[in-house]
C-alpha cells in the first residue's frame, strides 16, 4: 500500500517536471519560429483591474502586430489581493516586466525594482502633480488613469435658475448659486440644494478635508507639516475658509439625513433630480447611468475662498504602472507604456475601450461620459489640486477622527471648537505615529 503510494507520488512529480519542460520547449519552439522573421521578445504585464483585461489584451495584440513584441497580460481577478499576488509573481522565476503600484507606500516593498522613467516622452504631457510616484526625485510611475471630484451639478436645474456653472470659481460664487437655487427649491421639486453625507466618513474625512490641505501654495509641505503636528490650525486663515465651506455644504443639504445617507442613497438623490449638486467624483457615472439620468452634468469646484486654488478640483491617480528595472526587456516594457500614452491606438484604448480618464494632455479623443470630460478639461487647463489624503488614509485618520469632528461641527456650528478639535487631532495623530 505504502509502496504504491510512494511510487504514485514519485510518478506524479516526474510527470510534472516533464510537463514543465514540455511546456517550456513548446514555448521556445514557438518563439524560435518567430525569430526566423525577427527576434521574439515577450514582456509580461501584471494588471490590477480585471475589468480592463480584454481591452488591454486587444491593445497588446495590436502592439505586437506593429512592433513585433509580444505582451502577455496577466490579470489579478476579482477579489484578488494584488499585493500578495505580486509577491507570488515575483517568485515564479519570470518576474512581471510591468506591474501596478497604488501609491507611494508600495515603494517601501518594491522600491528596489523600479526603473527610472523621468526621460520618457509622455512625462511632458502630464501635469507634474500627477507624477506622484517618485523615488529619489525620479519619476518611476506611469499614471494609469486619473479620477477627480468636486460638486457634480445637474445642468438642467442650474439652467432653470439661471446659474452658469462655468462662472463658479470662488466661495462667493458658490454661495450665491446655492442661495439662488435654495430660494426656488419647492418650485423645482428639490429636497435640498446639495447631496452631501457625513455617514460615508470617507467623503467628509478624506475628500472634503483634502480641500483644506491642498487648496494652497505648496500643499505637499503643508500636509506633511499638518500630519507632523507642526501646524497651528486655529491661526490658519485657510482653516477658517474651510470651516465656512463645510458649513455651507451642511446648511444646504438635507440635515435630517446627513448621518444616515449612504453612498447609494446620496447618489440616487442627485440622480433622481432631488438635489442640484452632488459631492462626489467621476466614479459615480456608472451609478448615474443605471438610474437612467437624462440631464447634462459637469463638475464645479469645492471653492473655499477667492484664491486661484478655489477654482481647482482635486485630481489624483489611483494606480501607476512601474517598469521592472531588472527585466531583460526593460526597453520593450518602456516602449509598451509609451505606446499607451503616445499613439492614437493607445488613446483609443484608454477612452473607448477601458473607459478611463487619461492623465495625458495630448489625448484629443473625447469621452462620452460627461464627468470624465469635465475632469479632462480641468486637467488640460491645469486647474487641479493634489490628493493629500493618501498620506493618512492607510491609518484612516480622516475616516476615524476628522469625520466625527466634522459631524460635531454640523451639529453645533462652533467654528472655534471645530478648528481646535482638528488641531488637537493632528497633534495626537503625530504623537501616536511618533510612538509607533
Amino acid at each position: 500500500m505504502r509502496k504504491a503510494l510512494v511510487s504514485l507520488v514519485a510518478g506524479l512529480m516526474a510527470l510534472s517536471v516533464l510537463a514543465g519542460c514540455g511546456g517550456k520547449s513548446a514555448q521556445d519552439g514557438g518563439q524560435g519560429g518567430g525569430s526566423a522573421r525577427q527576434e521574439a521578445k515577450e514582456i509580461v504585464l501584471f494588471n490590477l483591474k480585471v475589468e480592463i483585461d480584454q481591452a488591454l489584451k486587444n491593445l497588446a495584440a495590436d502592439f505586437e502586430k506593429e512592433k513585433g513584441i509580444r505582451v502577455q497580460v496577466k490579470s489579478c481577478g476579482g477579489g484578488c489581493d494584488y499585493g500578495a499576488q505580486l509577491r507570488a509573481e515575483m517568485q515564479t522565476g519570470r518576474e512581471p516586466d510591468i506591474f501596478v503600484m497604488e501609491g507611494p507606500s508600495a515603494l517601501e516593498i518594491w522600491g528596489h525594482k523600479v526603473a527610472d522613467l523621468s526621460n520618457e516622452p509622455w512625462v511632458a504631457h502630464v501635469n507634474p502633480e500627477l507624477l506622484g510616484l517618485k523615488q529619489d526625485g525620479k519619476i518611476v510611475g506611469f499614471p494609469v488613469a486619473i479620477e477627480g471630484y468636486g460638486l457634480i451639478y445637474n445642468k438642467s436645474i442650474l439652467d432653470k435658475v439661471g446659474v452658469d456653472p462655468e462662472s463658479i470659481r470662488t466661495y462667493a460664487d458658490l454661495e450665491a448659486a446655492f442661495k439662488a437655487i435654495d430660494a426656488r427649491k419647492d418650485e423645482l421639486g428639490l429636497d435640498a440644494v446639495v447631496s452631501y453625507t457625513l455617514k460615508e466618513t470617507w467623503v467628509s474625512g478624506n475628500h472634503t478635508f483634502n480641500i483644506y490641505l491642498a487648496a494652497r501654495d505648496n500643499p505637499d509641505q503643508f500636509a506633511d507639516d499638518f500630519l507632523a503636528g507642526k501646524v497651528d490650525v486655529t491661526k490658519d486663515p485657510i482653516a477658517r475658509d474651510y470651516a465656512r465651506l463645510v458649513k455651507l455644504l451642511i446648511d444646504y443639504s438635507d440635515k435630517d439625513m446627513l448621518e444616515s445617507l449612504d453612498y447609494n442613497a446620496q447618489v440616487a438623490a442627485f440622480g433622481t433630480g432631488k438635489t442640484a449638486f452632488l459631492h462626489q467624483g467621476n466614479w459615480v457615472y456608472p451609478n448615474l447611468k443605471d438610474l437612467n439620468v437624462t440631464f447634462d452634468m459637469g463638475i464645479v469646484p469645492l471653492a473655499l475662498n477667492d484664491s486661484k486654488y478655489a477654482s481647482h478640483i482635486p485630481v489624483g491617480v489611483p494606480s501607476y504602472y512601474v517598469v521592472n528595472k531588472d527585466s531583460k526587456y526593460v526597453n520593450e516594457a518602456r516602449e509598451f507604456v509609451n505606446y499607451i500614452a503616445m499613439t492614437e491606438r493607445g488613446h483609443r484604448y484608454m477612452i473607448e475601450e477601458a473607459f478611463m480618464v487619461p492623465a495625458f494632455k495630448n489625448v484629443k479623443l473625447e469621452p462620452t461620459d460627461p464627468l470624465a470630460k469635465a475632469i479632462m478639461k480641468y486637467n488640460a487647463e491645469g486647474r487641479t489640486l493634489t490628493w493629500q489624503f493618501g498620506k493618512y488614509s492607510a491609518d484612516n485618520f480622516g475616516m476615524q477622527t476628522i469625520a466625527p469632528i466634522t459631524a460635531q461641527f454640523a451639529k453645533d456650528g462652533d467654528v472655534e471648537k471645530f478648528l481646535a478639535a482638528i488641531d488637537r487631532a493632528a497633534k495626537e495623530y503625530a504623537a501616536s505615529k511618533g510612538r509607533n
Binding site: L198, D256, S260, D262, D395, P404, A407, N436
Partner: protein, 300 residues
C-alpha cells in the same frame, strides 16, 4: 496492559485534531494577543514590536472614545438582555399554547436567526433609511420621516430592536424546551387546588424553568457584549455624538471600537490592550451572573 495503551492511542488520536484546532485558533492567538498588548506593534509584518510595558493600558485611561464605547456597550447589553429575554419568553409562552399551526409560528420566529447578521443589518438599514421615511411621507406621519439611524438615541434602540428581532427566536426555542419539561401533574394539581393561570406561572412554571433563565441571560449578555456584525452593517457606529467634549461614534460598541483601533487606525497593540480589558470584564460579569442565577434554580 496492551488494552490500555490502545485506549490511550484511540483517546489521543480522536482528541488531537480538535485539540490542535483549539490550540491554534484559540489558545495561541490568545496568548499572543496578551503579549502584543505590551508592545508597540502596529500589525504590519516587520514593524517594530518593542516591549512598552503598561503604556498601552495607561493610554486607554485617557481615551474618552473607549470609555464611551464601554458605557454604551454596558447600556446596550443590559437593555437588550432584558428585551430579548422578555420577548423570547412571551413568544415561548404563546407557541406552547394550544394554537393552530404553532409549529409555523415557531419556525417563523426562529427564522431571522438563520439570516447572517451582516445581511440582516443591511436589510434593516434599508428599512430605517428608506422604507420608513417613505411611509412617513405617504401617510404624513412626522416622526417617521427622519431615519431612526440619524439620531444617537433612536439609533441605539434601532440596534436593540434589530438584534432582538434576530436573536429572540433562538432564545425562544430554549424557553420552549424548558416549558415543555415542566411536569403537567404539578400544573394540574395546582389548578385543582384553585390556582389561577398567573399563580401557576409565577409559582410553578417560573421556578421550574429557572435553569433556562440562567442559560439565556448568560447567552444574551455575552452575545450583546460581543455584538459586532449587526453593529457594523446597521449603523457602522453612526451617527456621531459628543461625549465629555469630544466627538465620538454614538453606536460604536466595544467590539467595533477594538476592531477600528487595531485594524482601521493601525494601532494593533492598543487594540489588543482593549481586547484584554474587554475579556477580563466580560469574564467577571458572566461568572457573577451565572453564580447568582444558579442560586435561584430549584432541583427536582
Amino acid at each position: 496492559m496492551r488494552q490500555s495503551t490502545e485506549a490511550k492511542v484511540v483517546f489521543w488520536g480522536f482528541l488531537s485534531p480538535t485539540l490542535f484546532a483549539f490550540l491554534m485558533i484559540i489558545v495561541i492567538p490568545f496568548i499572543l494577543g496578551v503579549y502584543y498588548s505590551f508592545t508597540e506593534w502596529t500589525g504590519v509584518a516587520g514593524a517594530s514590536n518593542a516591549w512598552v510595558g503598561l503604556q498601552n493600558y495607561a493610554d486607554l485611561l485617557r481615551e474618552k472614545r473607549f470609555f464611551y464605547s464601554f458605557a454604551v456597550t454596558a447600556a446596550y447589553s443590559l437593555v437588550s438582555m432584558v428585551v430579548i429575554n422578555l420577548v423570547a419568553f412571551v413568544l415561548a409562552l404563546l407557541v406552547t399554547q394550544e394554537l393552530k399551526g404553532r409549529n409555523i409560528y415557531r419556525a417563523g420566529f426562529f427564522l431571522p436567526n438563520v439570516i447572517g447578521g451582516l445581511i440582516l443589518g443591511y436589510i434593516w438599514q434599508f428599512v430605517f433609511n428608506s422604507a420608513l421615511p417613505r411611509l412617513g411621507d405617504l401617510l404624513s406621519i412626522g416622526f417617521l420621516r427622519k431615519s431612526m439611524l440619524a439620531d444617537p438615541r433612536t439609533a441605539f434602540f434601532a440596534l436593540v430592536f434589530v438584534v432582538s428581532w434576530q436573536y429572540a427566536g433562538y432564545i425562544m426555542m430554549i424557553y420552549v424546551a424548558a416549558l415543555q419539561n415542566v411536569p403537567q401533574e404539578l400544573l394540574e394539581a395546582a389548578a385543582i387546588d384553585g390556582a389561577g393561570p398567573w399563580q401557576r406561572l409565577r409559582h410553578i412554571t417560573l421556578p421550574m424553568i429557572a435553569p433556562a433563565f440562567t442559560v439565556n441571560s448568560f447567552l444574551t449578555l455575552v452575545n450583546s457584549f460581543k455584538q459586532f456584525d449587526v453593529n457594523v452593517s446597521l449603523t457602522g457606529g453612526m451617527p456621531t455624538t459628543t461625549f465629555a467634549g469630544e466627538p465620538v461614534f454614538a453606536t460604536e460598541l466595544l467590539a467595533m471600537n477594538i476592531y477600528n483601533t487595531a485594524l482601521a487606525m493601525n494601532d494593533y497593540a492598543r487594540g489588543q490592550a482593549k481586547a484584554v480589558v474587554f475579556f477580563v470584564v466580560l469574564a467577571v460579569l458572566s461568572l457573577l451572573q451565572v453564580y447568582f442565577n444558579k442560586k435561584r434554580e430549584v432541583e427536582l
